[in-house]
Structure formats: structure tokens, C-alpha cells
Amino acid sequence: MSTRSVVPFGPHHPVLPEPLHLDLVLEDEKVVEAIPSIGFVHRGLEKLVEKKDFNEFVYVAERICGICSFMHGMSYCEAVEHIMGVEIPPRAKYLRTIWCEMSRIHSHLLWLGLLADAFGFESLFMQSWRMREKILDMFETSTGGRVIFSVNKIGGQRKDMDNSMIRSFLDIFAGMEKDLKELTGTFLNDGAVRSRLDGVGVLTEQQARDFGAVGPFLRASGVQYDMRTTGYAAYGDIDLEPITSNIGDSYARTVVRVKEIFQSIDIIRQAAAKIPEGDFAVPVKGFPKGEYMMRVEQPRGEACYYVKANGTKFLDRFRVRTPTFANIPPMLETLKGSQLADVPILILTIDPCISCTER
């Protein structure tokens, strides 16, 4: 009978730049239980909604997270637009779709880099981030910011992308695709990489449903569930099929995310072909009154935004349920029975974002 010992993981750990703390209960090298604690970077952004004008809050919502900043801002705007009954111009919807998908590509590339870093493949990490840099440059060209874009507003977008800009982006994507194939080929086929991912941290479909996993973590376990199919922004006009895998291990999660990168490029192409001419914002008058629950698919999974307005310029309540928050319980489940050396990989395969979890 081996003795149990408790090894703390985090809040500062070389593999994870963000403060997540886990107490790992070990039996020899095997994890029998993981007890999480979060709350190291709580900033109280939700409370700020009572102090900021609902138009100004867009900039706060964007700052919930530095990776999905566009989607946070957009979802907040869409929720308020639903409450106020504002119909935004179709061009704005397409612009939102294009920027959303660019965010998804950049987030997934970031994640691939971090994954490579977690198993010590430094040059693969650098290659992934080199590719991501191109997306950030495109963001800077189109919005003026690399991480925080400030292009959302209630009633549409604050900046337009003209057609020549969209075309130039498509050219960049066409060039990137070849590089991406080569890069992701290493992730998917390299023997050394696969030895770290194959069969590690299997989450069965039933477990994924029971513990409420979301996003690529859920889809890698064979559940076809993607909020984009609900058709917010311009997704209703776009042809897309959720990408799934039914293996459920860390390798499957990598495959799903890699395929989603190519899917996103395809969505951007579709959107660029269909984008209508016209205005990209409508003026909004008055104050919101009512409540709405907005659900969107972020790179990490489904995020829910609850907005309650009382007819003044300050909102009553703003609540975000971020994908990482939903993914922590299934992640703890996959940790049980894993080897201590695999813990960093397992934590990374949910693509944790602690800043947005704690807001």
C-alpha cells in the first residue's frame, strides 16, 4: 500500500502563465485526486457595470480576456442590441464574423504553441507563434490594435474593412495555409509529439456530457455541439459543420483545434465572398430595459453572457460564464488516474484561460 502525498501545482508554474492552483493528491506518480482553487486574478469587472455607462462598458467587456477580447466585446454588444431591439446592418454582422474567426485562428495558434512549449518542443512553439504574429498584424491593420481592438459598439462596428483590405487578407491566408499545413503536420504526425498525446486523459462522451464540457474539449469526445450553428452575427448565412472526433484523448483535442483553424479560414473566405455593401453601424438612442442571455462560441467553447438592464444608462447586472469555468470539472475528471508528468499537458488541453474565468 503506497502512501499518499499532496503536491501543489501552481499558482506559478512554468508551464502555465496563468494562476491556477491545484492540489494534486498522488499515490506514487499517479494522481488520484485534484483539488482546484481559483481566485488569484479576480478583478471585479462584472461589478463595474453598475458604475459605467452601458456604451462605455464595451471597453470593459473587451478587457475580460486578452485572447477572446473581440468576442467578449461583441457578445456584450449583441446582448444589449437584443434588449433594445436594434437590428444592426448586415455588413456589420459580416465584419463581426470575420473578426471572430480571425480571433479563433490566433487563439488556436497560441494554444498550439503553448502545447508545444508544455512538452518541451521549443522550436515548434516559436513557429506557431510566428504564424500567429501574422494574424495580429492583420488585426492591427484593420482595427488599430493587436490585442484590444475597440471596434465594437452597440449598433454596429466602429471601423469598416474595405474590400481591398479584405482581399489582401485573403491573400495572406492563402499564403499561410501552406505554412500551416506543414506546421500542423508536425503536431498531428510526429512520433515524438504523438507519444505525449495519444491516449492521454481520455474523456468519454458520457463523461463529457455529465460534467458539462464545452468547446473543442467537448467536440473531441464526439459531441456535435457548436454555438456558431445558432447563427449569431452572420453565422446563419455561413455553411459550417462542427468538427468532432470520437477518440476523446489529448490527441483528439489537438486534431479538433487544428481542423478548426482551417475551418475558420474557410469561414472567412465564405464571409468575404458574401459580405454586402452598406453601412456598418446604426445610431442607437435611448436606454435598454429588459434582460437577455447571449451564447456564443469562443475559441475555448461556449460562453454565456447575461445582461439585465433597468432603463437607465447603468445596467443592473452583467454576468459571464466563460468556457474555462465549465471545463474545469471535466478536466479534474481526466486528471484522475493520470501520471504526474502528464498533468501539464492535460491542463493545457482544455486551453485554460484563468483571467476570463475570474473576470
Binding site: F121, T141, G144, S150, N189, D190
Partner: protein, 120 residues
Amino acid sequence: MSLFSFAKTEFRNLFSKPVTRLYPQEPRIYPERTRGHIENDMNACILCGLCSRKCPTGAIRVDRKEKSWAISRFSCIQCGCCVESCPKKCLSMKQAYTQPGAEKKTDVFTKPEAESKNAS
């Protein structure tokens, strides 16, 4: 499954030039839309104070008595709301970022006539 699938990329990297830039020797060329910092053309500014009311972070302070317009560089989030709201279009978003600083500084712009009065 394959071994050395990354070798091609590695090999190419040996003979291609670096993707990074030797900053600051090689200056960065900003895209046109980069939100760097706010400048104010004090000749045109009428000190109406609309920009400071529109600013979400309260970074701008307008003092009519002193005829000055001040911006707290470290509060400003470069959102551009002030530029959009200014009736005289004297505010502009410049591409270059501000210098990093050891303390949180406020830049004060004064109307030219107030400056000459103070000087005399």
C-alpha cells in the same frame, strides 16, 4: 506517424533571415490605423470639454480658466472616443506609441495665447 517531420522547417530556418526585427535600430512601420497616442492641436481647440465627458476612463481634463487641456497618458486606453466626439476635429490619433515611463505622467497642452500671457 513519422519521425523528423519538423526537419524540413528547421533546415529552411537555418538559411532564411530572422522573422524578428532588430528593434529599435530598425524602426517599426505602423499600419495607418494603429492607435498609438492622442495629440491635440491647441490652436483649434475651443476647450468645450466634450472630449472629457465622452472619455470612458476620465483621462482628459479641460481647464477653461487656465486655458489648458491635459491628458493622463497612463489612463488613456486609446479607444478614440474623444477623437470621434470633438466638434472642432482638433484631436487626432497618432500611430506611434508613447514612451514607457517611470511614473504616471500627465501631458498638459495650453492655448498659445495663454502661454504668451503667462510668459509676459
